[in-house]
């Protein structure tokens, strides 16, 4: 049964001012339409250019559910190619990353392609003479994703030609990337430490929404963070607070903390929590770091960079970054009820190793499939995914601190427990879902 395909009005009807219909989470049809329309209309995160430092280096990933490759071309630029042979569709690389040399060679019939995707050679080429091959789709080689932008190392791509250009899409939200990158004394990040991959039996948007859900930590994480606080109370007085306790305990901060920390709303579904302070504000100083930053930027600028304590910055549709701890979470949709969460970490080039150590500890304690904090969250997502099959109520409520004049407002800072960011994400969802329909 198709209810939504080609029906922009029906799709718009799924999102109301203060609630959304459950089909945005549970309907396979809506999911397929997200893959066909919403993801290709959006600027989607692909990867970081430090994953492909040398010519011929590639990294395989997805935009929505489509397989793509990030590759360093011979001219030094990064390209994004559809990871599909133009001959019979074979995926060109199966390893996640590697070096292909000067060209890709399909393992099935040995067609080869330059690292910008263009067709290089076909064995027994004369078999295509007088067949009109030059006019075929196949003759163009591995299709490149045409709209690619490398923003200070972070590579985004947009599959469709329509839609917004990069600057328009992101607007002022790029300031969170700037802050994360500027935390390196030389203004450069490098993917480091390995990626944590965590499978979730829930819709990808539940994860995105949760990044700005500040009314859940003290409740859902009472079991993990609350236990940390309780166990730590029993430590002999004067014991130095371990890094792990510094990381997890603030999840138990009271409502007022989260109300006051603030939320900022930008255009197109982007926004961040932690305008004034955040759960990352009170980490111990890392020896030698501030001195390096002061030497690089001068004291005033160094203080301004490190004084930003943005908590979670959500970039619509499906990533979140944590500037103060150099972490990026990528919520990769697989099916309406299945999402792969990849948590990537970055080294601040030319900063003390201890920062990377803390970043990795954070990632392991919060984002691993073995993480007790992760267990708390996933339990809630899975229960929601199941509960939504109840016919008692087809709507999910996103009404907290709603104000009728909020639509269209941008670059505003509001109460940190508002569900405005979620409403805002769904306004963007409608926009990019129905764009060009």
């Amino acid at each position: 049964m198709t209810r939504y395909a080609g029906n922009a009005a029906a799709l718009r009807g799924l999102v109301r001012d203060q609630e959304v219909h459950r089909d945005v989470y549970v309907s396979e049809e809506v999911f397929q339409l997200e893959m066909e329309h919403m993801f290709p209309n959006s600027w989607v995160y692909v990867g970081h250019d430090s994953q492909v430092p040398n010519a011929g280096d590639y990294y395989g990933t997805t935009i929505g559910t489509q397989p793509i490759l990030l590759v360093r071309h011979t001219d030094g630029t990064v390209k994004v190619l559809h990871n599909r042979c133009p001959h019979k569709g074979t995926r060109i690389t199966s390893e996640t990353c590697g070096n292909t040399g000067k060209f890709f060679r399909c393992p099935y019939h040995a067609w080869s392609f330059k690292t910008d995707g263009s067709l290089l050679a076909i064995p027994l080429k004369k078999g295509y003479e007088n067949t009109g091959f030059e006019q075929s789709h196949a003759a163009t080689g591995m299709a490149p994703v045409r709209h690619v932008r490398n923003y200070r190392g972070f590579v985004f791509a947009k599959i469709n030609d329509g839609g917004l250009d990069f600057e328009e899409f992101f607007g002022e939200s790029l300031s969170s990337f700037d802050n994360m990158i500027d935390r390196s004394p030389v203004g450069q990040l490098k993917v480091a430490g390995g990626v944590l991959r965590y499978m979730h039996n829930c819709n990808w948007k539940m994860l995105v929404e949760n990044q700005t859900d500040t009314c859940h930590p003290m409740v859902a994480h009472e079991s993990s963070a609350g236990t940390v606080v309780e166990v730590w109370k029993k430590a002999p007085p004067g014991t130095r607070k371990p890094m792990a306790v510094e990381i997890i305990a603030p999840f138990m901060s009271p409502y007022e903390f989260f109300e006051n920390m603030g939320i900022r709303i930008w255009d197109n579904g982007h926004g961040h929590t932690g305008v004034h302070h955040s759960i990352h504000s009170d980490y111990s100083a890392i020896p030698g770091y501030f001195e390096k930053m002061t030497a690089a930027y001068g004291e005033e600028r160094a203080k301004a960079i490190l004084g930003e304590n943005r908590h979670n910055t959500v970039y619509f549709p499906n990533i979140m970054i944590k500037g103060p701890i150099q972490l990026l979470r990528h919520f990769k949709p697989i099916a309406a009820n299945k999402t792969l969460v990849e948590s990537w970490t970055f080294q601040l080039v030319d900063a003390p190793d201890m920062l990377l150590e803390r970043t990795l500890m954070y990632n392991r304690l919060i984002n691993a499939p073995t993480s007790i904090v992760g267990h708390d969250d996933l339990e809630m997502y899975e229960r929601a995914q199941e509960g939504l099959h109840s016919n008692a109520n087809e709507w999910v409520n996103l009404q907290r601190l709603y104000s009728p004049d909020e639509a269209g407002q941008t670059n505003v800072a509001v109460n940190g427990t508002s569900e405005w960011p979620m409403r805002h994400q769904f306004r963007a969802w409608t926009k990019f879902m129905t764009m060009g329909m």
Binding site: S223, S224, E230, L356, L360, T370
Partner: protein, 170 residues
């Protein structure tokens, strides 16, 4: 659930059989969810390490699935008992099948013994049951006449795969 309480070592230097029994006992305490007794097998400065990378050598600047000291392990054990630990309502159960542990090295002078144990581990909750294959390496020493784990390293055969929840201990 009865199991003979851990006996002190007969001599200052453990026999191979005593090391083997110790490793088997650790797995049994986990399977029987006797987590306080289990934690007691760990030295105060112990670490439980589950690498993320194949042949990983560094737990500090390479991420791991777990790299936890006794404080973090005790937090896990407390959390499993918590009334509001919703991911454990209902509780997970687990099951170890160990190959006979092999004593890889014994250095009585340094008070350091290392065993290597291939194993299958099953964790289950509600309708889901997941099988993991792994190798456990135990670094053991003698403290006050008892064996203690200084480091337990669990290398999953598919350490780099995407996993769902792993909630108990391998």
């Amino acid at each position: 659930m009865s199991m003979v309480a851990e006996a002190p070592l007969k001599n200052a230097v453990p026999t191979d059989q005593e090391l083997i029994d110790f490793v088997v006992r650790e797995a049994r305490l986990i399977d029987q969810q006797r987590f306080d007794e289990w934690l007691d097998l760990y030295a105060d400065d112990a670490f439980y390490w589950m690498p993320l990378e194949w042949n990983q050598t560094d737990p500090r600047l390479t991420c791991s699935l777990m790299y936890e000291d006794k404080l973090l392990l005790s937090i896990r054990v407390e959390r499993l008992k918590g009334a509001r630990t919703f991911s454990q309502k209902p509780k997970s159960r687990c099951h170890h099948v160990l190959q006979t542990p092999q004593v890889d090295s014994r250095d009585a002078a340094a008070n350091s013994y290392v065993t290597w144990t291939p194993m299958h581990y099953v964790e289950t909750r509600l309708e889901e049951q997941t099988l993991y294959a792994a190798w456990a390496t135990h670094h053991i020493s003698v403290e006050n006449g008892r064996l203690k784990i200084k480091l337990k390293r669990v290398d999953l055969i598919n350490c780099d795969a995407a996993f769902g929840n792993i909630q108990l201990f391998m």
